[in-house]
Symmetry: C2
Subunit: 363 residues, 2 copies
């Protein structure tokens, strides 16, 4: 045997574990009494409670998570499953992580991060070994193999995003399709008839990530239904990517007077490049974005936007999951409604030639 395992001192740095038996001995009661004090599952006299609690505090006792889970079938841990993708684009995800982290802490849960590079192994392992009580699936794709997996695992789960076939699993989402449509309608109402949609990196669409497709299709369909010329372009997370996408849109349709941007990363550069290319916003081109409110606040000028409630989304998902784990009946679908906030980057269309050079009143 490589490691000796004596009763008194365990290995190198590991702390000596204090068990419920130690507490019982210290308090002069039985183990079960300590357990009942902890769980409150049976009435215990006030003085015994006090005695036990003093011992717990004195010994710094904390019940062993594994031992507990073996009986209760609960671990108090939920998993956040992210697909493995690298690159700067992923910075957008941190707010989700933060929100999920704080929300789960408030719900008394711990958050385990999972990536599933090789498909679904990480999820299968974590759930199969009863490491987690539930799974929150991020970056849901339109046809996501993980959805089928989760359903077959029969563990509490919530999808953050809307797959083509949720297969009975509950999902929480922001209504990206409606969000895209709101952008479109805003521009249509302002008189724009030629609109470009500048979206996420091509890879995101290639993977069929649901929200990206929904936002784009929601916008384009609304535009085309109302007779506008609509076009779209993916946008890579680099200055050249932004320039390239803008140029492509403007070359394919030089009449483009409205731009819907759903690419948080690119947004600052879009405004910058448009002016660099000689287009004034909103006089020549109106810009409406889909992005979190704090992204707008960080821009040099306030952009008309449909605000993306990242924090509420993650929080809702965690709360939903917490409820499902407790056995509460949960709504199968939760859709957060988009709302468009007009700000400085959109204006009525007829720009110059329209009814004489009567000036360009911004409002």
């Amino acid at each position: 045997m490589l490691r000796s395992r004596s009763r008194i001192s365990s290995k190198v740095g590991a702390a000596v574990a204090v068990t419920i038996a130690d507490v019982a001995r210290h308090a002069g009661v039985s183990r079960s009494t300590v357990s009942y004090v902890l769980s409150g599952n049976r009435s215990i006299s006030a003085e015994t409670i006090a005695k036990v609690e003093r011992s717990i505090a004195a010994l710094q006792f904390r019940p062993h998570a594994g031992a507990r889970s073996i009986r209760t079938g609960r671990t108090g841990v939920i998993a956040m499953a992210l697909p493995m993708l690298h690159g700067p684009h992923n910075q957008v995800q941190m707010p989700y992580v933060w929100a999920a982290l704080t929300a789960s802490q408030e719900a008394g849960l711990k958050l385990l991060m999972l990536t599933d590079d090789d498909g679904e192994t990480a999820i299968r392992d974590a759930v199969g070994s009863a490491l987690v009580d539930g799974v929150m699936l991020m970056e849901v794709q339109r046809r996501d193999p993980r959805v089928g997996l989760l359903r077959s695992l029969k563990c509490p789960a919530v999808l953050v995003g809307t797959p083509d076939d949720p297969g009975g699993l509950p999902y929480v989402d922001f209504d990206f399709a409606l969000g895209g449509r709101l952008c479109a309608e805003h521009l249509l109402e302002l008189g724009h008839t030629d609109v470009g949609f500048l979206g996420q990196p091509a890879e995101t669409y290639r993977r069929g990530v649901a929200y990206a497709a929904h936002a784009r299709d929601g916008a384009l369909e609304a535009l085309r239904q109302r007779g506008a010329r609509a076009d779209w372009e993916a946008c890579e997370p680099s200055p050249d990517g932004v320039s390239g996408a803008l140029r492509a849109l403007l070359e394919r349709n030089p009449a483009t007077s409205g731009l819907i941007v759903y690419n948080e990363w690119a947004l600052p550069l879009v405004l910058d490049r448009l002016t660099a290319l000689g287009h004034r916003v909103p006089r020549d081109i109106s810009v409406v974005a889909i992005c979190p409110d704090d992204a707008v606040d960080q821009l040099p000028r306030p952009v008309t936007s449909v605000s993306l409630p990242v924090e509420a989304l993650a929080r809702t998902a965690v709360e939903h999951l917490a409820g499902a784990i407790n056995g509460d009946r949960q709504a199968p679908v939760t859709m957060l409604a988009p709302r468009l906030r007009p700000r400085d980057t959109t204006a009525a269309y007829p720009r110059r030639r329209a009814r004489g050079a009567r000036g360009n009143v911004p409002r």
Copy 2:
């Protein structure tokens, strides 16, 4: 009792757990044999191994994490402890999370995220209840109460950052002080004598976050030692914050010709605002940044920078922790060396008045 707990079907969505006993029965061997097949701790005949493995696969067996941890004292989970801070600044952290996530997966570990709003409860709970095998401490402060806690918990730990008193705990860090000094020396060698340091948000310094202080002090000390005028300013994550910080630096010392920027978020805006304020880079003002390489790639122009190896840092920390958990003896300190990469935003100082208006050759 609210929830009945029968032997056959458990509650609502929970999967029926398959145990090692089921596998043993299915394979026609004893439980211990299955365990030995799993762990390889005793020699088992090839045919028995095959038989058992077939049963494991057929039943989709995965050992119960809790039950396993109760005996082995291991969970295969490590914690990443982040202090609870919100706001856009935190986007910088996602690369750390990603790197730690992939690295821990490669090391066969799972990653639990912890925040410690109310001090250290989350860490204490996770370690005390034996939920995690080790802790990776992020955003280490110069005087960090969590360091003392971790030491007293006697569990494998690694600090990502250098506190004033590591108290015997191993730490991994990027040499921010030297990084700051390299920036300073680069500017000094180019002839700059008046340099401003534009740093992290004020809150970060107020909290005494180690890396922020180290980078700033490393730069300022090097500058002052060599007789340069050096000043610094915190910078909030907003356009106004950037403008304000720049203005403050330039007003306090109008002769400022060199700028060290250690604020990944602000970097694009700094370049933008400098030109907006009428300073050409690098003709009027040289800019050198401390930031990850991919942040440079995303800028419209290549910025001279000391590259911040975020991914290597997180990866090193995870590997260190994995080793410590396995009982390997680890180096107490790992410092990643900074390297300055001159690019387009720094130039020799004597700008105009120096030796006649002989033109400004960029190189």
